[in-house]
Amino acid sequence: MEETLIPYAGIVTKITGQTPDVKTFRVEAPEGGKLFEHKPGQCAMLSVPGVSEAMISITSSPTNKEYMEFSVKKCGCLSGWLHGMDEGQMITVRGPYGRPFPVDDELAGKNLVFVAGGIGLAPLRSVINYVRDNRDKYGRVDIIYGSRSKDDLVYYDEIVSEWMNTPDFHVHLTIDREQEGWDGHVGFVPNYIEEVGLNPINTCALMCGPPIMIKFSLPNLLKVGFDKTQIYTTMELRMKCGIGKCGRCNIGNKYVCKDGPVFRFDQLDELPGEY
């Protein structure tokens, strides 16, 4: 009988350094192709047995039929191990877990604003590339993305060569402080939201990033006219099972692994502020 706690083994066929502490791992089934299908915003449990297991967003789009990708920030046991290994190594993967962004219902036909900080772009990248591959189903797209420095912008090459060249895609990059070789915008993401001139009508905003960025960006999105029912985010709590059983990741009566990680801000208001 099926058991979701038992993972699949996948081969890491390509490792790309994104920033000094983020690498992207391409994972394929041993027989080639993807280990399983997913929807944008869903996650998977990656593991190296004997090291540990960690929940990671699937950053590739479901429209990619060849492989899955995960971008991992080096911060501990598993992530440190992954950063040290070579291509060709097997890892284990189980999932997909969680409720995705509602790309085919609430978001369909809308203009989209993506607000991201640092590695927070990882879960949004899945949506962004899904939108690029279904371009006629969505309206104007604005991407506001910031990091500490130019070197900390993940997917920089893809952003410049692909996203910036997609029709009606408007990419607004920013870094925290002036830097040699950077002639783009300088400043924090929350402030930039007010400056780029967003139109909230028939628009949804999807926001992921460090808690401090979310905290200051939300009021600014509201200030430029968005309602909480138009703004989505993903939550990050400590996880073990990924299926609402180990009892670890709840906010009030919702399990982030199962009922999230994607939440709308009006839904979050219904929950205790314990996150």
């Binding site: 058991e3 059983k245 996150y275």
Partner: protein, 342 residues
């Protein structure tokens, strides 16, 4: 209903044990009841309930989930699951029997936990109606009837023996297999026993405990109650209350290097521990207040929210007798019921 004479109880045990493992409450060296496997000469305990709950049978404290063989860059995943042997538990009280229903609501909903399901499918539960409820009992608060427990078979003590009632197909099967030990009876003696027990229950110190002030839909009202501070003030975060609790379900998953490969196992965990939710980016429950509140919010509000109003406590009273600082769910409920949420 069927009757088993006093003299035949151990014949019944022997008949079951001839075919499958039989577990029942047995007194340990210090006179406390624990579930033990029955064999010739082992005596059924007459204590009201076991020290540890019966959840171990279906959700053991640790269990192996799978194994891995690592060779160079290759990982082999070994599915170590196998169908568990049939077994019978005799003497489960009403509260613990009700706890199985609560665990089912966690582990048997999609995606089903196959480890738990395996044990549930192969276990037959024979419950034993309580004759002498204790002062710490309050199963009635949650609508559980100590005089009429659930389970595959229910057993009552009557004057000169035991009356059995099969409640499920599994129960029918087990009774059919031992049919020659039983004689037919009506429900008169059981009714009398139930009346007696219900009378005792009504006089118990916690008979008046209600679920006023807690339950589904009350997150906002209960979460911000100022009393959480004083209630949690002395909590040591030892986790004893979670480990003795028949309905506590939280677990951790860990790996162990056996020298021949990696074993992935799970073990009970506790929301009362500080590292339960600790993250590199922060800690959503930084002090014991939040952890303590989580345990009781889960049992009294969140669980009912997600489970048609069913509470996540069965009133077994174990946490009442075991907490080193004498804090417990009854004190929490009494405090929350004191109208402060208006």
């Amino acid at each position: 209903m069927k009757k088993l004479s006093l003299a035949k109880l151990y014949d019944f045990f022997a008949a079951i044990a001839a075919k499958e493992a039989l577990y029942l409450p047995v007194n340990n060296e210090v006179g406390k009841a624990e579930y033990k496997r029955w064999s010739e000469g082992v005596e059924l305990s007459h204590q009201l309930n076991t020290l540890r709950s019966a959840k171990d049978f279906f959700f053991p404290q640790t269990e192996n989930l799978m194994e891995f063989k690592m060779e160079g860059k290759k990982i082999d995943i070994i599915d170590t699951r196998e169908a568990c042997d049939d077994f019978v538990i005799f003497g489960v009280r009403a509260c613990d029997a009700a706890s199985f229903d609560i665990l089912d609501r966690v582990y048997l909903v999609d995606p089903v936990d196959s480890y738990y399901k395996n044990r549930r499918e192969h276990g037959t539960v024979i419950t034993h109606a309580c004759g002498k409820p204790a002062e710490t009992c309050f199963c009635g608060t949650f609508g559980i009837d100590a005089a009429d427990p659930k389970g595959d078979i229910t057993v009552w003590d009557v004057e000169d023996g035991y009356v059995f009632r099969a409640n499920t197909e599994k129960g029918e099967k087990l009774m059919a297999a031992t049919a020659d030990l039983f004689e037919d009876t009506d429900d008169k003696a059981v009714k009398a026993e139930q009346d007696k027990v219900r009378e005792i229950l009504a006089k118990m110190p916690l008979a008046d405990l209600t679920t006023e002030g807690v339950g589904a839909g009350l997150t906002k009202e209960v979460f911000d109650r100022p009393e959480w501070a004083s209630l949690s003030e002395s909590c040591l975060g030892c986790g004893t209350c979670t480990f003795v609790c028949p309905t506590c379900q939280c677990y951790d998953i860990r790996d162990f290097d056996t020298g021949h490969g990696i074993q992935r196992f799970r073990c009970w965990d506790s929301c009362m521990y500080s590292d339960f939710t600790k993250m590199s980016a922060g800690q959503p429950r930084p002090t014991q207040l939040e952890r303590f509140r989580q345990r009781f919010m889960h049992k009294l509000v969140y669980f009912p929210d997600n489970n048609d109003g069913v509470f996540g406590c069965v009133g077994c009273g174990r946490c009442l007798s075991r907490c080193p600082i004498s804090m417990n769910i009854v004190k929490v409920m009494k405090t929350l019921a004191k109208g402060g949420n208006k």
